[in-house]
Symmetry: C2
Subunit: 320 residues, 2 copies
């Protein structure tokens, strides 16, 4: 999950001086922010500091942060979609390439790259920003099905190029964030989500880079998600890991402590971290939060869970 952020005073110090896009687009700043959590905590991997909307700007789409993404001109018409041009790989986000190289030079820890899932990107593009019910998106998908597929195909092609670019630049794993998958019915996800994820993930076959997929609030989609060509399934806090183990045979599980519990007392943080570790026994498990660190998280609680995870010894209960 996102590791950098407002809960870190050193992040706020940078955020006070620069706009969000300026931070993302300036490799020195983006690399520094990527590394901030690693300087403070004994983490086992870094995740690139960027945003899922980053590659879209190279296709001429204007996006601001306020603080969530706002698309200046929502993309809904056939014309707007026809005008979208797939940028050459080198034009997508050259600053990301430089950020990745700088992080790799500065740190020996594995670096995770990422992208947004096409259907989640489309949610922002069509709505123009976040929404309580995503009614505009859902109506649009159903009333403009051919245009919707054109947009999703474009987003898949762009994402595939963007992830290849990150892998070439040096990321050692990639994660696809499908933050809004959970708002959709099984049928909508089947038609507008799954095929494009499969296309992107299959295009990464043979790169040797582990593929991680995260869908939030998506327990109803797990039967479909298990068909994705991924090495790692990242699960939010809703379903316990031992249950996820049965749902995703052969996959490495990533997760799944509720980030909200990092706001609680050290006793609760300790208990819940240990519970997550216990529930992750029975197969490969990458300890992580179920979603990004909340802005009000005390950094000491992050330090505490890193210590607990590193001190944890797999017991004989572990059926690995």
């Amino acid at each position: 999950m996102r590791q950098a952020g407002r809960y870190l005073p050193e992040y706020r110090a940078i955020k006070d001086r620069f706009g969000f896009w300026e931070m993302v687009r300036t490799p020195e700043i983006a690399a520094e922010v990527t590394l901030q959590p690693l300087r403070r905590f004994d983490l086992d991997a870094a995740i690139l500091f960027s945003d899922i909307m980053t590659p879209l700007t190279s296709a001429g789409i204007q996006i601001e942060f306020n603080p969530g993404p706002c698309v200046t001109t929502p993309i809904r018409s056939h014309d707007a979609i026809r005008r979208l041009r797939l940028p050459h790989r080198s034009a997508i986000a050259p600053f990301v390439v430089n950020t990745i190289k700088m992080v790799r030079e500065e740190s020996v820890r594995p670096l995770i790259g990422f992208a947004g899932a096409p259907l989640t990107l489309a949610a922002y593009l069509v709505e123009g920003g976040g929404s309580a019910d995503y009614g505009v998106l859902k109506r649009w998908l159903h009333d403009n099905t051919p245009a919707a597929h054109d947009l999703l195909r474009f987003l898949s092609d762009l994402t595939t190029r963007y992830l290849h670019l990150q892998i070439e630049a040096g990321v050692q794993a990639v994660q696809i964030f499908d933050s809004w998958a959970g708002i959709h019915s099984v049928r909508t996800y089947d038609e507008f989500g799954l095929p494009y994820l499969k296309q992107i993930l299959a295009a990464l076959d043979g790169t040797g880079v582990p593929r991680i997929y995260l869908a939030v609030g998506a327990a109803h989609l797990y039967r479909q998600i298990r068909t994705l060509p991924i090495e790692v399934i990242s699960v939010d806090w809703r379903t316990p890991l031992d249950e996820c183990r049965t749902l995703f045979p052969g996959k490495t599980l990533q997760g799944n402590l509720d980030p909200a519990l990092l706001l609680a007392s050290s006793k609760v943080v300790t208990e819940e971290t240990r519970r997550t570790l216990r529930q992750g026994l029975g197969g490969p498990h990458i300890f992580n939060l179920g979603h990004g660190v909340l802005a009000t998280t005390p950094p000491d609680n992050v330090a505490r869970i890193v210590d607990i995870v590193h001190a944890y010894t797999r017991t004989e209960d572990d059926v690995l």
Copy 2:
């Protein structure tokens, strides 16, 4: 689900003249608003116009709408919880009793009463309103477990009295709305949600009134929800009804058209309504939306689905 609302011009005409609490607390207005959808559409039942926060005001809790509920003084301390006094049944919401009586006199259609689930009510009381991540609520539940159980016990007792009051006044079914159940992990729901729901629902045993339960975005909790003593499980649009049929043996299913699809063309509305009806075959099914009608819904699309449902004939595929 909620049937009245801003999508109806006749509702907006009333809303322009009165505050929300004034509408809820004036039986003539609340009864009129309850009946508005029945005057316009050939619906098979009415649902009381009120709010899940209604009974809380009788316990001295100040709530405003802006437009979601805002609790003036969030309830988090042991003292605040100790000060909560369970009102006598007749003091909880006398205006609701009068509204129910007026609706029953004016309409022969069955009337559904409702209440909020304790854990969903607690979400608003502890956070002070809606929230993106409910971090304050989750921290509070874990850091103040005994106080949390005191609050939830109070809310269960209040809800039990409130539902008995509605049944005595004449409602012919009751629905418990657990709008925020889905944000919780299986474990949190197990400790803070399920026992209180069971207490309320068991207390309605023998009233002869069907009990309906709705949890939103809660597919990960369905294994627990199936243990509730209810006659009807109301499901949102995420999981298709034929799958829900297997998950909830012996229950009547209610749902589950995505309210966002009512924003789409009449072709889409027709197709998706028929699909929902087909997927509901195989057992008792109360056609409904998966959640409340959205404010931007064209009333004609509501009329259309009512017509389609009434014209639908169960086929030989129906294994009832």
